[in-house]
């Protein structure tokens, strides 16, 4: 013995014994002559050769490939049928230094998991996919696979696969080769020793690409399934050579390993102290609210209503921000359900000195109606003694009420005079402040500065606010208080 040294032996990346298996712990569960054993062996060898055992993550989905974790002494994640590329995507992104291998059969990858594989490939996820194509469902006992040849019988195509019922065999490498992102796509066939050795090279390259930081690699392996094919291991390999290789020609479908550079590394993560500012939770984006609430109890229940584009939601937001700046409890609820049909838009804003129970406002004490339909819809819900601001020259006679305060003016026309019709909402806000003094001027200004990011718009809005106040001052003198 002493003059012999080991040439080939079981890979280090395999467990010596398969303790996770219930019985026969030094044999795989694969049938005699099964291609999975050979492919596993090639994969383990490549992991050994590249020295990546410690950082390999094997994703085992459903099918005969489900038990990879019995054998591979690497990090293992067992996944659902077809979903391995999604699992692999996130595992790789979570651990960018890892080498992630998704090992999938044809039912898994080419039927139930078509969306996941297509999009992982199209995103160019830097993972390595081993696609074992044996043209049949093995683990479940011989049902049709998307790769089953036309005419071939299976337990679910007892009369043979029909192009009119099940369609044609699905060509995975050819399909993925229509995408721009994949770096490496090769089909190999383990129908003889030459094919096996070529498969070994391809699998190794698929892993190397990941080690080198390149993108998506997939190796499709035409693989024998003697048990389900009801044939001998020898004839199964013959079928690979003589039948399947004709339907699925072997070869390289994509090789950009020399053309594509390594993917850019992720930016360094910020420190925890930097997080609040990055999340816009710093002083510029928050209100240091007063410790004490205003002493006089208030509960402003405001409904803002108009058409989309009139700044309804923004007007409500400024009101809520102003209330917050004034130390009130506030809520802002947009109606986005049945109420907003046909382009109408409204929001509920509540400003109160007490904790707000329901943010839903059914009995407003302020209605800001930016158009006639909104006025008609809500004017009769306003609480007696409340305020109604209406954006028109005159109030429709049937909307008149004696028990509420109306401020009626064409606020949008005033906005036109300022130079932009879009600040009509802020003109109305100015009028409201002048009429009902919901909160202080400085709080409205602070809210505007907070909400409006552009300096030019802020200037417009400030002008609009003043114009609204002036308009209200003219009108309010005449209303019932």
């Amino acid at each position: 013995m002493s003059e012999f040294s080991v040439l080939q032996q079981k890979a280090e990346s395999f467990y010596p014994n398969y303790g996770r298996k219930a019985e026969l712990q030094h044999q795989t569960h694969y049938c005699p002559g099964c291609g999975h054993g050979i492919i596993s062996k090639l994969l383990a060898r490549a992991i050994d050769e590249l020295g990546i055992q410690d950082r390999t993550i094997l994703v085992n989905p459903v099918g005969c490939s489900v038990f990879g974790y019995y054998y591979f002494d690497v990090g293992n994640i067992q996944s659902a049928h077809g979903r391995a590329p999604a699992v692999a995507t996130a595992a790789k992104r979570a651990r960018p230094h890892s080498v992630v291998v998704s090992y999938q059969g044809d039912g898994d990858l080419a039927a139930i998991g078509t969306a996941e594989i297509l999009h992982a490939a199209n995103r160019g996820e830097p993972i390595t996919v081993i696609f074992v194509n044996n043209a049949i469902y093995g683990m479940t006992g011989g049902q049709l696979a998307p790769t089953t040849p036309v005419g071939a019988k299976s337990t679910t195509t007892p009369y043979g696969r029909s192009i009119f019922n099940e369609g044609y065999p699905l060509h995975v490498c050819e399909t993925l080769a229509s995408l721009e992102a994949p770096v490496y796509l090769e089909r190999v066939a383990i129908g003889n020793i030459k094919g096996i050795l070529q498969a070994g090279k391809a699998i190794r390259r698929g892993l190397e690409n990941q080690v080198n930081g390149l993108g998506f690699s997939l190796i499709e392996v035409l693989s024998p399934c003697p048990t389900i094919w009801k044939t001998t291991p020898q004839d199964a390999q013959k079928r690979i050579r003589e039948e399947l290789s004709k339907i699925y020609p072997v070869g390289v479908f994509r090789d950009l390993t020399g053309d594509r550079g390594a993917r850019p590394a992720a930016l360094p993560a910020p420190t925890l102290n930097e997080l609040p500012a990055l999340l816009e939770l710093d002083a510029a984006h928050t209100f240091e609210t007063p410790d004490r609430r205003p002493t006089q109890a208030v509960d402003w229940r405001i409904k803002v209503a108009g058409f989309g584009g009139q700044g309804v939601l923004m007007l409500g937001e400024v009101l809520a921000e102003a209330g917050l700046a004034a130390g009130l409890d506030v809520s802002w609820l947009p109606s986005y359900g049945p109420e907003m049909r046909s382009g109408t838009s409204n929001c509920h804003v509540r400003l109160a000195t007490h904790a707000i129970d329901s943010p839903l406002i059914s009995r407003p004490n302020v209605l800001l109606a930016l158009n006639e339909p909104s006025l008609r819809k809500f004017v009769h819900t306003v609480e007696p003694g409340g305020w109604v601001l209406y954006n028109a020259d005159t109030l429709p006679p049937d909307c008149r009420r004696d028990d509420v305060n109306f401020v009626t003016d064409s606020f949008t026309k005033i906005a036109d005079g300022i130079g932009d019709t879009r600040v009509g909402n802020i003109v109305m806000l100015g009028a409201l402040m002048e009429a009902a003094h919901l909160v202080g001027d400085e709080q409205v200004d602070a809210a505007l500065a907070h909400t409006v990011k552009s300096a030019r718009w802020l200037e417009f809005d400030r002008k609009a606010l003043v114009a609204g106040k002036l308009a209200a001052r003219r009108i309010v003198q005449g209303v019932v208080q």
Partner: protein
Amino acid sequence: MPKQLIKGNEAIVKSAILAGCRAFYGYPITPASELAEAAAKYMPLAGGTFLQAESETASIYMLFGAAAAGVRAMTASSGPGISLMQEGLSYLAGAELPCVIADIMRGGPGLGNIAPEQGDYNQVVKGGGHGCYHTIVLAPDSVQEMADLTALAFDLADAYRNPVFVLADGAIGQMMEPVEFMARPVEPRHMPWAVEATPETRKNLVTSIYLEPDNLEAHIRKLEAKYRRCEREEVRFEEYQTGDAEVVLMGYGITARILKAVVEQLRATGLRVGLLRPITLYPFPVAAVQRLARSAKLFGVVELSTGQMLDDVRLALNGARPVEFYGRAGGNVPPAEEVARFVRRIARQYGVAVAEEELAHV
């Protein structure tokens, strides 16, 4: 403390990142899309991952992959998307992977509509996936709670190695309220069982398959023991004026906010009404229901559905007290006045004393 006026959906994302979440995988859907949009904006800045997946099915398995690799991960969706995720939720629970899912409920079944509803209770709280498992379900009723319960969700997910839902309706998701966020961000932590592609974690295995019946039963018993511990230790609820309540109202999310207004309105008329608001829908506050049943005459359950949480209230009461139900659906949210009419009616029906002057108006 500084506060920010912020939408419920965005508050979840900011709170999640402060809580150490570094992966968001999602798919747009109204009324939950702001979650994906906020995550797309902030997650890369925080050194995390945001990816818009090809489907909700892919999203939930991306959570599976991220969680298996030891990263705090979340997704968000609404009814139709949550339905698609049910398969993955079963796998996540089976593999004992922690993650957080925000469900901003809309109208169903089918395409339904985008308005607020609470029709996902059954599929989320009871679990729509296969097998004996539970998800922990937290139900915020304010934007502040959207933030607070999201942070809690990550802690519970890790502590129980189980998916945790933040179950809110479209109203809570879309509304803005002031929020005070946690002052000190949480360091992303290490999970010893995770598959991190390191020598120390090489022998780790994340799986939900147990081929031998005895092994699978042992695993299921282990999960069961975990859920029993959760039921003992994690029940959360809010009581609002229940001390002398003869009518105990129950609701969660936006409904609970309306019910608080209802309680205020009816208390003012002399009707002794209180609110029991479950904050954890699983585990359900069974003991609190039973305790209140000793003094209350009846229970009124209000939901934006045709009655889903209702079943849990009935199970908790086990016939001890009558339960009446008021539900709106299809995206209709009842104003407090409408719900108050229901409560007055059932109070009268069961002989609960009401001030005379109030009766005259009914």
